[in-house]
Structures are given as C-alpha cells and as structure tokens.
C-alpha cells in the first residue's frame, strides 16, 4: 500500500472503507464465535453459577469438574461410566477404518489410472456413484450383511461399514490425484523390473502424502462424526462416542446438567478439531496439489 499515493480526500474515503470492513469482519467473527464461547464457558461453570449468572458471563474460575464428570462418571442409560469407554470405541473404530479405506482407495486409484484395463472408466463411474448413495439407503442391506458375518453390534462391524462406505470417496481422491502423475514413470519402473505392488510402494506412495492427508482428514471426520451407522448397528457398550453423547444428554436424572452436556460435546468434538488444527492447512494444499515435477 505504501507505494500508492492518494490525494487527502481519497485517503480519507479509503480509510473509512477500511474501518467499515474491519467492523463488519469483527461483527461476524463474534457472531460465529459466540456459540463456541457459550459452550466452553458453560462447561467450566458449576450448576450454581449457571443458574445464578447470565449465559454470556465469564466463569468465576476454571472448574473442570463437569469435564471429569462427563469423562468417567456421567450415566449413559443405566451405566454410569462416563464417555471414556465410548471414546475408545470411536478411536478403535476410526483408526482402522481410516487406514483401511485410505489404503484401499490408494490402491484402487492407482490401478484405475496406471493399469488401464478395459472398462476402467466404467468401474470408476460406478464407484463414483457410491459417493451419492445416502447413508439411509445402505442401512438395511448392511444390517443383513453384518448379521450374516456375525459382527453386528461390534466395533469390527462399524470398521467394515465405514471402510466400505468410505471407499468411494477415497478412490475418487486418489484417482484424481494419480491421473496427474505421468504414466511414463510407471512405464520406466516396469522396464526397470518393478511389479504392480513394488511400483506402488516405491514410486507412487512416496508421491502421495498430500492426497493421503486429504483422505485421512476427510475419512476421520466422517467416521468420527458419524451418528447414523453407530446408532443403527450398535447398542449399549459397543456404541461410538457420538451415540453415547446423545444418550448422555438424553439421560436425565433429576436436574439437567448443562455444564456436563457441554463438556461432553467438547470431548466428542475434540479429536476432529485437533485434526483440523494440526493438519487443516495441508488439506487445502493437498486438494489443490498437482502432479510431480521432474
């Protein structure tokens, strides 16, 4: 800006525009941050304070007892274990499902682009179709499948469901990334004597981190945040944290404990928030990343 020169009048109006812009931005920032503030604030108050003070008032002290309660004391249905076991359910569901769907998506994308076979595009179109199938459509057949396999109401069942459902998306990601990798690379490696899996492991995978980040973030948030599959295919102790949190909020024994509900919500959202904060900038970078140089 400093290398522009304005007449005084021009400078004035530019300044006013700028101030207006800032004011608007701040206003919207407050507007969007307010609910988050209320949730965090409330989770740090005790019930007295909630009843006594305003919704927007700052908590008197940092009181983590609601968090502790939500983590391992609160009653969910008849069991008073807090969210902890369900948190681990979600972890043991999400990590393998993310890993499996990402790996399979990478392999499928690689096969579809670099080992073009008859009908490869047709198959890709069909897989792509999977992205548009709503959850609700697959619930019934999926329940039957899980029943036949004998893994209803287990974490394994959810791992399978999410791996299969996620495959359409991960394949799309990897396929679109791998079309930008020149085919000559694979041809050169073939002449050098590398086979399908060696090329994948030694050449293609090392070029994939940007899109792996995208796939992992996408899959992790999808799977962690999923409610429908979790509620449909599991009950009681095998439920993921999203379902457990819902039940925790709905289980009322006497007084409504808003601070515990808020803490539970924050605990549930923490892992996805964490992933976004740590890897968020790689997400955009990965989505826009093109092919390789050299």
């Amino acid at each position: 800006m400093s290398d522009h020169t304005y007449s005084p009048a021009q400078g004035q109006s530019v300044l006013w525009m700028r101030l207006l812009l800032w004011a608007l931005l701040i206003l919207f920032a407050i507007w969007f941050l307010l609910p988050a503030y209320v949730v965090v604030g409330t989770s740090l108050k005790d019930l007295e304070e909630i009843r006594g003070g305003s919704l927007l008032a700052l908590p008197h002290e940092l009181n983590f007892s609601a968090w502790k309660h939500a983590w391992n004391e609160a009653c969910i249905g008849v069991r008073c274990t807090g969210l902890e076991p369900y948190f681990w359910n979600s972890v043991f569901m999400a990590l393998p499902a993310v890993f499996i769907s990402t790996l399979l998506g990478a392999l499928t994308g690689y096969a579809l682009t670099k080992f073009q076979f008859r009908g490869a595009n047709m198959i890709f179109a069909l897989i792509l179709f999977g992205c548009f199938v709503p959850f609700q459509v697959v619930i019934l057949p999926m329940a039957q499948t899980l029943g036949r396999l004998g893994i209803t109401n287990t974490v394994y069942g959810l791992i399978l469901v999410h791996s299969v459902y996620g495959l359409a998306f991960t394949t799309l990601f990897f396929r679109n990334y791998y079309v930008t990798i020149p085919d000559e690379l694979v041809r050169a490696a073939t002449i050098d004597g590398a086979g399908f899996f060696t090329i994948f492991r030694r050449i293609i995978l090392p070029l994939s981190p940007p899109i792996i980040v995208v796939s992992v973030i996408w899959q992790f948030t999808q799977i962690w945040n999923d409610f429908l599959f979790g509620a449909s295919f599991t009950t009681g102790g095998a439920q993921p944290i999203t379902v457990a949190m819902n039940n925790l909020v709905n289980t009322t024994t006497g007084v409504k404990q808003y601070n515990v509900d808020m803490a539970a919500a924050l605990i549930t959202a923490a892992p996805t928030l964490f992933v976004y904060i740590v890897a968020g900038r790689y997400f955009v970078r990965g989505l826009t990343a093109g092919s390789v140089k050299g």
């Binding site: 041809r187 050169a188 002449i191 050098d192 004597g193 030694r202 070029l207």
Partner: protein
Amino acid sequence: MASLTIKNAVKRYGNVEVLKGVDIDLEDGEFLVLLGASGCGKSTLLNMIAGLESVTEGEIMIGDRVINDVHPKDRDIAMVFQSYALYPNMSVGKNISFGLEMRGVPKKERDQAVQEVAKMLQMDHLLDRKPSQLSGGQRQRVAMGRALVRRPEVFLFDEPLSNLDAKLRLEMRTEIKRLHKRLNATMVYVTHDQIEALTLADRIAILKDGEVQQLGTPAEIYDRPVNMFVAGLVGSPPMNFIEATVVRTDSGYAAEVMVRAAGADQTVLLDLDAQAADVSDRVGRKIIVGLRPEAITQAGQKAGGDAQSFPSDIDVTEATGADTLCVLHWNGKEVMARVSSGYAQIIEGTMDFAVDMSRASLFDPETEKRLD
C-alpha cells in the same frame, strides 16, 4: 550382442490400425532412427519393442528370440523417455540403481556400477540430488545413465532431446553418438527432427500413417528418396518440386520449365540425360523434377562438368551465414537456390545459375513415387 528384427508388425486399437505391417531388420550395433510426423506411430512401435504395448500381429525378435510375450524387464532393453520419467522421490544415484536393485544385484556392485556410469556422463557430483534440483540437461543425463547402467542389448530412445534448448540438444546429440560408438549397442531412436535423424543414424526408417516409406542410410534417404513425402520430409530447406514437361532433344530427353529472367518467362530445358530413369514414354507429359537447393547454385567457379547454367531473377535473398538462399521464380512458383554468401550480396536482380541435374530426383505427378 543382439540384432533386432521386426516382422510385419501390426498394431490396432479397436479397429483403428495404427501400424500397418512394419518390417525392419537391424544388425547388432546398428543405430536406427524412426523419423516421421506427429501421430505416425513412432512411439507405438518403440513401445512395442519395449513391451509396453502388445503386438497385435507380427513378430519382434531380439537376437533369435521372439519377444512378443516376454515381460519388458526380461527383454534386455532400456528406454529413455521424452519426459525423462525420473522417479521424483529418489536421489539421482537411487534413480540409476533402481533397475539393478530390482534385479537383485548386491549393493556393492550397484554402487560401483552407478559410480562408473556417473563418471562416464560426468555427473558424479549430482548423485545425491533429487531430480527436481537438476536442470533439464542434467535430468537428461540421469535418464541416460539409468539406461546405461544395466548394459542392455538394445537401447530405445523416445525423442530424448526434444525438451532441451537448441545448444544443449547439439551437445547431447554428440554425446549420444559418442556413447553409441563406445558401447557398440543396438539403438532405436525416435525423433521428428530430420537433422537429428541424418546426423545420428546408421539407417533411417521413415514412417507415415503407420507404414515404413523408406528404410535406408542417411545418404540414400537424402539423395534418392523413394517418394515425394520422404523427399519433402528430409532436408532443410526442403527439396524444390518443379513440375515440368518432358520433351525430346537431340541428345535424349529434357524437362521443360519456364524460368523468370530479366522480368520475363524464358523456356529452359533441364537435361535429363544424367538420369537413370527412362522417360521415353513420358514425352509431352508432366513429371516432377525434385532439386535440392544446393543443386542450384551460382554459375561459374564450381559448376561441375554436367551442370548447365542459365540466368534467373532473384526475388528475395536470405543469408544463413555460410550460404545465402535465393528465392527464384520457376513455373510461377518459388524455388530455393543455395549460393555461397559472397555472390548474392553482389547481385539482387538477374544472375546466372548452374543446375546439377545429376543430383535431381524425378517423380511421377500422380503416384508421387520416384522414377528410376
């Protein structure tokens, strides 16, 4: 040591015939250049030799082994790609040794082989870099090194120099020629640069629409092109095609053309007696006289015994350094002549030109084939 034999090779994609029966026989140590316009099937043929494309019909043999169904890695070939196709995640040294590693060569031998090749191509200092840290020319060298390190029987090059600037291209051309001499390996080289073809090849195969038009030494291709397509493809500036009528003369036959001299069209008879072609049954009909620019030059001095000379108007001159190109008007069309620089500077107007008809090629105007 290996010869390379391509017998009636056909390639079809669905019902599109990309190669229509190619026959090429290469002796051990020969350097073959496949020359042709874009889309004529050069890369397809090369990929078939490499095993990257299947052979629809016909046979490809290295030595006396049919390799149609042999996996690329077992064909004892190496290939250099136009885009170099260096593995971006590996260092230069790893790039070069990857093929050896895949073949189970022990680490110590691999390192030694890499060192040797690096020395040969003067890139010892680059071995630890990644391909993205190299210049275009250096990448080219690495790609060559990767091919060299395995000491294959047959080297395949797909337009390896087309991504380099003019100066580097010249350097690498010489380098490839030197390597060929040194290794004495059989090489197949694809290009659409006719100068590259003429300078590198032991033999050139000219492809058009999936068919070999002519297979011969650079001299054969240049001096005795089998048809007008080949004649027009090779040589720069290209051969002049002059439509002329065959007439009888006292001594035999001649081709009659109208040459613009001193502002008016003059009839000139180009002597056909030095030609091997029999034109006796073409008297009164048209033929195409193909004359390279250097066969039309200034009269006097170095005109050979059988050169005939006559005046012609110079329309434009283009100095190229050693020579000057003069644009003349014959039969109402432009004709290029090549004159030593000293002359054209003096005259822009009418000048005496000598034509060496022993170097002319005659073509049939309908079939466009050479008359011999």
